[in-house]
Amino acid sequence: MDGICLELTGQLGTSQPGEAEVERSLIRRAQRGDRAAFDALVRRYDQEVLRMALKIVRSSDEAQDLYQEVFLKVYRSIGQFRLESRFSTWLYRVVMNVCYDHLRRQRTRGEVQATENEDGQPDFAQTLTEDRPISNPDRALTAKEISGRLQAALTRLTPRERMVFELKHCQGLKLRAIGEMCGTSEEAAKNSLFRALQKLRVDLRDLA
């Protein structure tokens, strides 16, 4: 895994050399049990982790559970992290493993994902920001419908296809990196992406 170079997008703040050193210092302190340092690390990445969790589950309660599971895992195993690797890469892998396990459990239980609105009703467009099409009432209906259709289509993907699609389409990672993160080959990741896109094409043909 040393060869891959992934980084969570969003509020990373580790691109500058000084920032990277600050982060290494925080990691070292967290490894010695310094809670404040661990909290500071969490604050660097937690918005992006939550954003990714929301993409996978679309329910704020479930996303909250995934968020907690990710950072508890990181807390318990940060002592094993080696500083020569990128922390963001390591964290990203934890996020992926947690999400993947969640999807597999969900699939085993036969659950269907849906975002809930304030009334507890499914609402796939509840967390949109104001610059999204939903701020225009005419477009809001379309956006809501599309979002609902997309979400339904995504739930029909296998956990592997779903993860590969999210990593490729939403995170923009290279297939080689996705393969390594998922513990498989680039070719297998490519095939998962093809199958995911094929299923989405069939499900969303009338919208595209």
Partner: protein, 316 residues
């Protein structure tokens, strides 16, 4: 590239995953085949649909809720036996081999001795009918989920100690300070527990065992790093009466040079002077005193350094 190969490659093209020659072949076919151009446009529409589709964004309220619940979970986690164990493991250093050896030691230790605290606790009566857990073994401790430690009571006469903590239920561990497992709990408490009063009580318990290297290390750690100046000062007084060594000299000198509290720095100066008067001059310490006699930000510390230099040179 034929039409079938083009279809397979179109997704890779849209995701910019085609390499040089593949991309050139793809674009050449695209220019020559109208049917494939239409198929690619269809794929592009799906791609745009997927890209433009609203994606959920975390609301500030959700983020705040997540942070709060994580904070509570970490509080719980921090006082679990797992955390104490991790602290213990970390004290063996970061090298995997060393830590693996430490883990093996712990396993052998746990299975080999099968410790119980009750037999050693005979000299310590349990006050007020407080439940004492008889026959504790390591698996019990690993499931404790300690929430807080409410009391650490050393008994200098018997050499025993009582630790009262809140876990899933309140338990009291009793045992002798000769027991390395009891010492380990105290050492981890000294280094990691966030209540300064408990750390102070733990310090009292540990000062009966300063011959033990782990206790010595915990005291040196507390003297240098404890966030509470009172605890640092108490740790320093204990170190002052420990058997001298290069580590104690260096530790005390670090306090003189770096501690943020002038009272602690002054006490460290006195401790060093006492050590040097017994063991002979240390040029590095003398040089530091001479420097701080003019540069320390606190006038009392400057004066104390000046007095120390005179006393040491007088003895020299």
């Amino acid at each position: 590239m034929n039409c079938k190969e083009f279809e397979n490659a179109s997704a890779l093209y849209l995701y910019d995953e085609l390499r040089g020659s593949e991309r050139a072949e793809f674009e050449a076919h695209l220019a020559a085949c109208a049917a494939c151009r239409a198929r690619l446009e269809e794929s592009q529409r799906l791609h745009r649909l997927l890209t433009d589709c609203p994606r959920p964004e975390p609301t500030p309220d959700l983020l705040a809720r997540c942070r709060q619940t994580l904070d509570e979970a970490l509080d719980h986690e921090e006082l679990g036996w797992r955390s104490l164990l991790r602290g213990w493991m970390w004290s063996f250093g970061a090298a995997p081999a060393t830590r693996a050896a430490a883990a093996l030691t712990l396993i052998v230790f746990g299975f080999g001795l099968g410790w119980t605290l009750r037999p050693r606790a005979a000299a310590l009566p349990v006050a007020g009918g407080e439940p004492t857990q008889a026959g504790f073994n390591p698996s019990d401790l690993s499931n404790l989920h300690i929430r807080s430690i409410s009391q650490v009571t050393p008994d200098p006469q018997s050499g025993g100690v009582r630790i009262t903590l809140d876990a899933e239920r309140r338990v009291t561990l009793e045992g002798s300070l000769d027991d390395p497992r009891i010492r380990q709990v105290l050492v981890d408490t000294m280094k990691g527990y966030d209540n300064p009063g408990i750390r102070r009580d733990t310090l009292d318990a540990l000062r009966m065992q300063t011959d033990d290297p782990s206790v010595r290390g915990a005291l040196m750690y507390a003297m240098a790093r404890d966030p509470n100046a009172g605890v640092r000062l108490e740790a320093l007084k204990t170190v002052q009466h420990m058997e001298c060594g290069a580590d104690t000299h260096q530790g005390l000198l670090n306090v003189v040079e770096h501690d943020s509290n002038a009272g602690v720095r002054a006490a460290a100066i006195d401790a060093l002077v006492q050590h040097l008067q017994q063991e002979g001059m240390d040029d590095a310490v003398l040089a530091a005193f001479e420097r701080l006699a003019t540069s320390d930000r606190d006038p009392v510390v400057r004066m104390r350094c000046l007095t120390a230099v005179r006393r040491l040179q007088g003895n020299g």
